[in-house]
């Protein structure tokens, strides 16, 4: 989240899209309820009317997979309204804090749905060059926003195609409802008003999920809603500590602190930094004339990380051990889908599955389960036996035919160990051990510790082992009993000269004199305050009382609760919203009041020439990007159809689907609308958790939601002769499941391009393991992923249904 949970109560208009917050983040609804009690409007956009929609002032039905069109229509509305009623918008914000005024390279091409030439699923270098600014070091700007090549005009041109009629034809949303959404949300464009977008997997789990989020960014920036209280783009994370896991970068393309993973072309630290560490981009003719380009500090963070990992073994002479780091092949996709594709081809021999359940949670379950059979060995660390651990004896399989050796490591659950959990708000909260783990179960930290010590021993003994030094030289001095406390300190980092904990990442150095396991978490554990994640002061120290609660736990970066908050004030440092100020400049004392400012420099108009820091410090251009040239599939979001679509054509352009999406080949048949006429979508319910391994073993929760079910609308049910409670079979090109049917008024057929579209809602909490069993919804989903992240397209596919 750019903002945080409690801040939602400050909002004037909450739009929840691609999320069913009341069901899947029920505690968050405390804040939505408070906002509504204070007069906020609440919009819910979802193919299905859910428990969240029941509280909405405006509910907009939408065909699954058409969010870019929907938001595109809203952006078009706002762009037109900005010209008609500029007084209702924060034009200064748009001009000075975003790249709306920047002039784009004149060779930019957009034609019929694609942004230039594509070669083998990737845009060519020439095409991508056309996406850049006219001058990439010091871009020219037109603060009148009239230049036909400026971002604002290019936006207008692009979004002029997203008319209300076209959008409603694609999404199936009734026109008057759509216009009501536009009006209500664009109302927050005024100075002093804020709208927030809460989103979750409904947004991200598409072949263009990243561009879905980019749409929100464009909308929120045009409305001046970033960096302000009650605003922001707020991802409701899918599990309780996934924020922690992504911060520590347990992902294939990043190192802790969102540093990029080295690639084969990075021959040394310098060439790596040339590739990843951006140069500052200084826009001309804006009030702000300096970009902090915070990622320019890359070297300090990667060096400090390497010092944390390798200690004394990493020094200036050996490039801080950079050579020994594994390097990725830029042409290989190492993500979940990519990995299972490789596994299906027999390229992966061993797999360690830690607190995850791909056999039920990954897309295309039949394919992924079959791919697991190609492994020589599999280790599963989990608190229960799950579908992955039991893949070798799943229904329909003779264990004698599976050669994989499976090891089970029982793990302790969250109440049986101590450590931190980072929530969606980036707040790191320390948790304590309440009970001993049962039997042989151990906390993950201890499991990792014992394994690593043993690995070090083995690598030490075997001098022929590949990349042996990378293991042997690891700084692993945690003693006999490793604690989260020691690791937390290491993550924060030390000043290696004094041996004291580092105060914060501004103090990290690139000369090897500091270490930090994760620069973002640097400041969490200090000499003065100790482990700040343990703080529980429930008094909000700020007189403005906007719910920052800065003394409750600690958040990154540097306990800044609302990031980009320099955008919440005007060029003089005066908050746009006097009732909910995030920061405010006290000119008498030359300091900022309120939240930790996003850079302590004085406001733009008070700073010296060439010291006028722009507010969006993580962007190399210092301003927020309406135009985003850094993504794989285009600088602007463009509406495509999902990989499996009920329509033959894309109504927006001649390009039917995202040309850069990752399409798997392993056991991944593609369904067509003639055999599979209905739009399937997978989702969760309050009562169960993820693949259900925890909750399907708890009798109380099983009593609430006992069986696998699918939800269908009354019209489809009548057509197929299905009554509520009947067993049905739902099938896709990849498999078939049995489930109980729940016939509901909350799904309605949508009219899309004259066709009637029915959704079938499939829950994904069940599997063949555990106490309460059922079919996994992911048997139906396809092995395709987003162009940028390869997150699977769980949310839209084609399926069919019949009575069992």
């Amino acid at each position: 989240m750019t903002n945080h949970w409690i801040d939602v109560r400050n909002s004037d208009c909450i739009m929840i899209i691609g999320s069913n917050a009341a069901e899947n983040h029920p505690i968050s609804f405390k804040w939505v309820t408070k906002a509504i009690e204070s007069g906020a409007k609440f919009i819910h956009v979802d193919p299905r009317f859910t428990r969240t929609s029941s509280k909405a002032h405006v509910y907009a039905a939408i065909r699954s997979g058409t969010d870019i069109a929907f938001i595109g229509g809203m952006i078009n509305y706002v762009l037109n309204d900005i010209e008609k009623n500029p007084q209702n918008y924060n034009i200064d914000y748009i001009k000075q804090y975003t790249n709306a005024a920047f002039i784009i390279n004149s060779s930019f091409k957009f034609n019929d749905g694609i942004f230039g030439e594509i070669d083998n699923g990737k845009y060519t270098a020439a095409a991508r060059n056309g996406w850049k600014y006219s001058d990439n070091a010091t871009p020219a700007t037109d603060t009148t926003l009239k230049n036909p090549n400026c971002v604002f005009q290019l936006l207008k041109k692009h979004y002029s195609r997203y008319t209300v009629d076209k959008v409603c034809n694609i999404t199936g949303t009734p026109k008057d409802t759509f216009l009501e959404v536009c009006r209500t949300f664009s109302d927050t464009g005024q100075k002093g008003k804020a709208g927030t977008i809460l989103y979750a997997m409904g947004t991200t789990q598409h072949t263009y999920g990243t561009q879905n989020v980019r749409s929100y960014a464009i909308l929120q920036l045009l409305l001046g809603n970033m960096g302000v209280a009650g605003g922001g783009i707020n991802a409701l994370r899918g599990t309780s500590n996934v924020q922690g896991s992504t911060d520590m970068c347990l992902l294939s393309h990043i190192l802790p602190g969102y540093l990029k993973v080295p690639q084969e072309g990075d021959t040394n630290l310098e060439s790596y930094l040339n590739r990843v560490s951006p140069l500052p981009i200084t826009p001309q003719n804006l009030a702000g004339d300096k970009s902090a380009n915070w990622w320019g500090n890359y070297k300090k963070y990667i060096v400090s990380l390497l010092k944390a990992w390798y200690g004394a073994a990493a020094n200036k002479d050996n490039d801080f051990y950079f050579d020994n780091l594994p390097k990725c092949d830029p042409n290989i996709n190492y993500t979940h889908i990519g990995m299972f594709e490789a596994m299906g081809q027999g390229k992966i021999k061993g797999l360690w599955v830690w607190g995850q359940n791909p056999a039920s949670g990954g897309p295309n379950s039949q394919g992924e389960r079959k791919a697991l059979e190609n492994l020589d060995w599999l280790v599963v660390a989990d608190i229960w036996m799950n579908e992955t651990a039991e893949f070798w004896r799943r229904p329909g399989i003779d264990p004698a035919n599976v050669k994989t050796e499976v090891f089970i490591l029982p793990a302790a659950c969250s109440y049986e160990k101590e450590g931190s959990v980072s929530n969606s708000s980036r707040w790191v909260q320390w948790r304590y051990k309440a009970v001993e783990p049962p039997g042989e179960a151990m906390p993950d930290l201890e499991i990792m510790h014992y394994v690593m010590e043993k690995l070090k021993e083995l690598y030490q003994a075997d001098i022929t082992a590949p990349n042996r030094k990378a293991i042997v030289d690891l700084n692993w001095n945690y003693g006999t009993h490793i604690t989260s406390d020691i690791v937390a300190k290491e993550i924060n980092g030390y000043d290696l000269v004094t041996g004291k904990l580092v105060e914060g990442f501004p103090s990290l150095k690139d000369d090897g004199s500091t270490s930090s396991g994760n620069w973002l978490y640097c400041n969490m554990y200090t000499e003065k305050d100790g482990n700040k994640a343990k703080r529980r002061n429930s008094v909000d120290p700020h007189p403005q009382q906007i719910g920052l609660y800065s003394d409750w736990s600690w958040c990154w970066p540097l306990n800044r609760r609302i990031i980009y908050n320099r955008a919440s004030v005007d060029l003089d440092g005066v908050p746009w919203d006097s009732e909910h100020p995030v920061i405010a400049y006290d000119s008498n004392h030359n300091k900022w009041l309120g939240d930790i400012p996003d850079g302590g420099w004085p406001p733009i108009n008070r700073a010296a020439i060439q010291e006028k820091y722009l507010p969006f410090i993580m962007k190399s251009e210092g301003v927020a990007c309406l135009w985003g040239y850094g993504l794989t599939d285009g600088p602007l979001p463009e509406a495509y159809e999902p990989w499996e679509s009920p329509l033959d054509n894309n109504l927006m352009s001649g390009t039917r689907e995202n040309p850069c999406a990752f399409v798997g080949k392993y056991m991944n048949d593609r369904g067509k609308a003639d055999l599979y006429p209905y739009v399937g979508t997978t989702y969760r319910c309050t009562e169960h958790w993820q693949t259900g391994i925890m909750t399907r073993n708890l009798p109380w929760l099983v009593g609430l939601m006992p069986e696998m079910y699918v939800e269908i609308d009354e019209v489809l049910a009548a057509e197929k002769g299905i009554r509520s409670g009947d067993k049905v079979k739902v099938s896709s090109a990849r498999g078939e499941i049995t489930a109980a049917a729940l016939v509901t008024k909350r799904f309605n057929p949508l009219i899309v391009d004259g066709k009637t579209i029915h959704h079938i809602g499939v829950l994904n909490h069940w599997g063949y393991s555990g106490m309460a069993k059922g079919d996994s919804g992911n048997i139906l989903t396809p092995h395709v992923g987003d162009a940028n992240t390869t997150i699977p397209e769980y949310k839209t596919f084609l399926c069919n249904i019949r009575r069992a």
Binding site: P26, K30, S724, A740, L742, T744
Partner: protein, 267 residues
């Protein structure tokens, strides 16, 4: 002052944390269930489910509503079950809770028949069966805590407090947002008033709330029971009277017979 809980259906998100919190606090088992075509489970309250959430998909005034209601013992001001129980096992306490004393109960189940909301449930499968129902967490209230369901509700749909204050708050909510609420506080007057008060966005009959008048159920019972002793006394008096009359007539006729006999003899 009687405590009460205000349930506001416009704030409830149907998450059912209350249903589980109740089970956890009262250490109730779960029962096996099937998906009978709805989120709702179990289908009815029973001896191991003291509260549940009901789900309704209704249309009102041209708008579609997905409404949730929490059902449990209403802890009536004039409880029918308390009046019905022959051994006084159910009692209305000062705090408002209608509590059950299993030291007195012998399982006649009259309370189940008497309750207009059909709340008391019986342990049909147990050889030592008790009546079971929501206790209003009288034990937690005694310890200065709020009922388990209220404590766990994330959105504040459940609010605990003094009954008269909650009625004032409920009226205020209706007055402040007249388009959001159906203009009625269920439980304010029904069955003579209950401790559980309800606000809803749609008419209560669409949510299967029983349509009960404001006269307490106990009024008729008290009238009937009040009549017992007078009737008993009256009948006893009448029978005694008849007996006396009959005996007297018998004596008189015996006397007349004796005199007749004497007269016949003397003739």
């Amino acid at each position: 002052m009687s405590k009460a809980v205000l349930y506001d259906a416009t704030k409830c998100i149907g998450c059912r944390a209350c249903q589980i919190a109740c089970k956890q606090w009262n250490e109730l088992r779960c029962e096996s269930a099937t998906n009978w075509g709805t989120y709702e489970n179990p289908p009815k309250l029973n001896a191991s489910t003291f509260t549940k959430i009901r789900f309704f998909e209704v249309e009102n005034d041209g708008k579609f509503h997905f409404v949730f209601t929490k059902v449990q013992c209403m802890h009536c001001e004039h409880p029918a079950c308390v009046a019905a129980c022959p051994v006084g096992a159910l009692q209305k306490t000062e705090s408002g809770a209608v509590v059950y004393d299993d030291n007195k109960c012998f399982g006649c189940r009259y309370c189940m028949v008497a309750c207009p909301f059909g709340i008391p449930n019986f342990e049909w499968d147990s050889p030592l069966p008790w009546i079971r129902k929501c206790t209003f967490c009288a034990d937690r209230q005694g310890g200065g805590l709020e009922p388990a369901c209220v404590t766990t509700c994330p959105t504040g749909a459940l609010k605990y407090g003094n009954r008269d204050e909650l009625i004032v708050e409920a009226r205020k909510r209706i007055a402040d947002h007249p388009h959001e609420y159906y203009d009625h506080i269920y439980g304010e007057k029904e069955a003579g008033g209950t401790s559980w008060l309800y606000l809803s966005p749609v008419p209560f009959k669409q949510l299967n709330f029983p349509n009960i008048g404001s006269e307490p159920v106990t009024v008729n019972v008290e009238r009937a029971m009040g009549a017992v002793l007078p009737v008993l006394a009256g009948v006893a008096a009448a029978m005694s009277g008849i007996y006396w009359v009959v005996q007297r007539r018998q004596k008189l006729s015996q006397k007349v017979d004796a005199e007749k006999k004497e007269g016949a003899q003397t003739k």
